[in-house]
Symmetry: C2
Subunit: 152 residues, 2 copies
């Protein structure tokens, strides 16, 4: 993971606290500035609140990339993708993480803490941060992910 100046924002619900801590430690170890928008305890919380917090930190320029974790990654990725400027990729391994950058110019990575283990998640995070967008034919498709009617 090549360090970047602009921080990576992290968020999770209660199911993702431990995996989020593992990912945050790896980012810091690699020299990435991070900020953790919670949750950080075992109390049951609502995943959309943390998806919205991370999404807004990208949309206001505070963060460059986001990382979201819930039990399956499904709910938190749906919530993030309600924001027209967010392209949140739910991935299950390094291969899909790489393709989400190459093809979809994803700016948020979503992971399911009850579905994949920490080593797989770390490989996915590294692939996500180290892969550039492929451009070309993918540009037109990515533009269509932010249609005029979806602009907030």
């Amino acid at each position: 993971m090549t360090p970047q100046d602009t921080p990576v924002a992290l968020g999770s619900d209660h199911a993702g606290v431990a995996l989020k801590a593992t990912l945050r430690a790896a980012l810091e170890e690699a020299g990435h500035p991070t900020f953790d928008m919670g949750t950080n305890g075992p109390e049951s919380v609502d995943y959309p609140d943390f998806a919205d917090a991370v999404a807004n930190s990208l949309l206001d320029g505070t963060a460059r990339f986001g990382v979201l974790v819930c039990g399956t990654g499904i709910g938190i990725s749906i919530a993030a993708n309600r924001h027209a400027g967010i392209r949140c990729a739910l991935v299950h391994d390094a291969t899909t993480a790489r393709l989400s950058r190459e093809h979809n110019d994803a700016n948020v990575l979503a992971l399911g803490a009850r579905v994949i283990g920490p080593e797989v998640a770390l490989d996915a995070l590294r692939a996500f941060l180290n892969t550039p967008f492929g451009g070309g034919r993918h540009e037109r498709r990515v533009r269509k992910l932010t249609p005029e009617w979806s602009l907030r």
Copy 2:
């Protein structure tokens, strides 16, 4: 898969044509009415166009559930989730398909044809169609997936 009166709408890009045909055949075999919104040829197309078509068929009441396929499922699920009334779950197996219904009341299933094989996809589709929403604490979270600002 218990047959339903209201159809299942299917859509894919060129990478998903073969898997979509497999899923459609299984649905029809089980007595589900379906309609296939394309694409059905090898020509390169843009996945958001097919996500929008399937999303709109649910939003106008023509279809009850949707099934979307692209190479990874990532792009087509992001596009579907731009629509506030759609909860599109990108899944990789029957477990995540089941949880997407129980926890997220997902109404569209997204699959990656270059990531999972047809037998895994068929099991995911069966789990998706046969699992009811769990309600309870999940209700409040699902409501937060359609915030007022996202209403189209």
